[in-house]
């Protein structure tokens, strides 16, 4: 039994007809064609699907679209400012913090929130903060370097 949900996505109100079981990640990818948010697992481990719900990092595969009704969602497509890369995206680029790029949107979304909550983290705190985002390519070394650089903390 479908119903309409209205979610403000990247600043724009968007409406879609969804089943109650439609996962938020599928609403974003299939209904709204925002394919930057990725699916990497089915047990809420990998974090590739991370978006912001009312400004907080969540795994969009573990949310029903109906649970986000009336709320604000920001995806990777929504974080650039005036077409410029967000400082975290720039840091990832400058530090080679991505290889295949599949985990990258989720990683960036989490990393930004990590720094918002803890603006000058130690490397251990960065690593701990990213425990919900799995990467198989980079070995995390350059991701940690990128987040450290984005925090402005010099080592």
């Amino acid at each position: 039994m479908k119903s309409a949900v209205t979610i403000t996505v990247n600043g724009e109100p968007r409406t879609a007809e969804v089943e109650p079981r439609t996962l938020l990640v599928h609403l974003l990818r299939e209904h709204l064609n925002l394919t930057g948010t990725h699916v990497g697992c089915d047990t809420s481990n990998c974090g590739a699907c991370t978006v912001w719900l009312d400004g907080e990092a969540v795994k969009s595969c573990t949310l029903l679209a109906v649970q986000a009704n009336g709320r604000e969602v920001t995806t990777i497509e929504g974080i650039s400012e005036n077409g410029d890369l967000h400082p975290m995206q720039r840091a990832f680029h400058e530090h080679h913090a991505l290889q295949c790029g599949y985990c990258t949107p989720g990683m960036v979304m989490t990393a930004i929130k990590l720094l918002e909550a803890n603006p000058a983290p130690t490397d251990a705190e960065i690593r701990h903060g990213l425990e919900g985002n799995l990467c198989r390519c980079t070995g995390y070394e350059n991701i940690v370097a990128a987040v450290r650089a984005a925090s402005g903390v010099t080592v």
Partner: protein
């Protein structure tokens, strides 16, 4: 990855939620943060016909200072418990346990009520509630009642909540000297064994998770503790345990972890 179809209700009040539970009976499940239930539904290990989403009932959110106790609404998220100044100072074992759950994203959604109602055999918050001798409030068609932690966790994923009751809140005593020690292989994992210890002068309350179908109190270790003898008391932490064996650990290893982690939890709690 894809749950079976279900009907969805979003009640505006606890009374409405209870009414829906009554109406739909066995086929209904309550959902809050969804981080216990949705993963099971996506693997099709659970397939409720109706989901009752209590996430919009804002009265169920919040942390209040009640003098000797802290009251926490069932929908209060792990991140909020972990970062609450009140909880961190007055009941640090609870903040510590909440901070250890899953990862940042999971803590932004998971709720204390959901965690307690789920009663996962590796769960962190049920263990802490037990060690604190806390209680939960529940509302059903006959009204409200409180359930002591010792009466709440009956067995594997089973609580004494009735099918038409909603867990509405948690009440824990302030306990400045407490610690939660969680042992796992990877940072985001469930506990293999976890120990919550609350020290009050020369007595301790100790609860363990991962050692059976439900969290348990380490009665023998508690009786042996006389303040300052953490190592001696911890030797008895595995008394009466019949831990499971699986790929994360054998029964013997779990007993051993119970002893080691109990000592560490008592030491940390005592120094707090």
């Amino acid at each position: 990855m894809i749950p079976r179809a279900f009907a969805y209700e979003r009640p505006a009040s606890v009374a409405d939620a209870v009414g829906l539970l009554r109406r739909h009976g066995d086929g209904a499940r309550v959902i809050a943060g969804g981080h216990s239930l949705l993963p099971m539904m996506k693997l099709r290990l659970a397939a409720p016909e109706t989901l009752i989403d209590i996430g919009g009932i804002s009265s169920l959110r919040g942390i209040s200072d009640m003098g000797s106790h802290i009251v926490i609404g069932a929908l209060t998220r792990h991140v909020d418990v972990a970062e609450s100044d009140l909880v961190r100072s007055a009941c640090p074992v609870l903040a510590q346990a909440a901070a250890s759950i899953g990862d940042l994203q999971v803590r932004n959604r998971g709720t204390i009520g959901g965690s307690l109602a789920q009663a996962d055999p590796h769960g962190d918050l049920p263990t802490v509630l037990l060690a604190l001798d806390g209680e939960v409030s529940a509302e059903g068609p006959d009204g409200m009642r409180t359930i002591a932690a010792t009466d709440l966790f009956l067995g594997l994923l089973t609580t004494s909540l009735r099918p038409d009751e909603i867990l509405t809140g948690v009440r824990v005593p302030k306990a400045p000297k407490g610690a939660y020690v969680k042992f796992n292989r990877r940072s985001q994992d469930w506990a293999i064994v976890g120990v919550a210890a609350v020290v009050d002068g020369s007595s301790a309350r100790i609860a363990l998770t991962g050692v059976g179908p439900a969290p348990v109190r380490a009665d023998a270790a508690e009786r042996a503790f006389s303040g300052g003898n953490a190592a001696e008391a911890a030797e008895l932490a595995a008394e009466g345990l019949d831990p499971p064996a699986d790929s994360a650990g054998s029964a013997d290893y779990r007993r051993h972890l119970a002893r080691v982690l109990t000592r560490r939890a008592l030491e940390e709690a005592s120094s707090g």
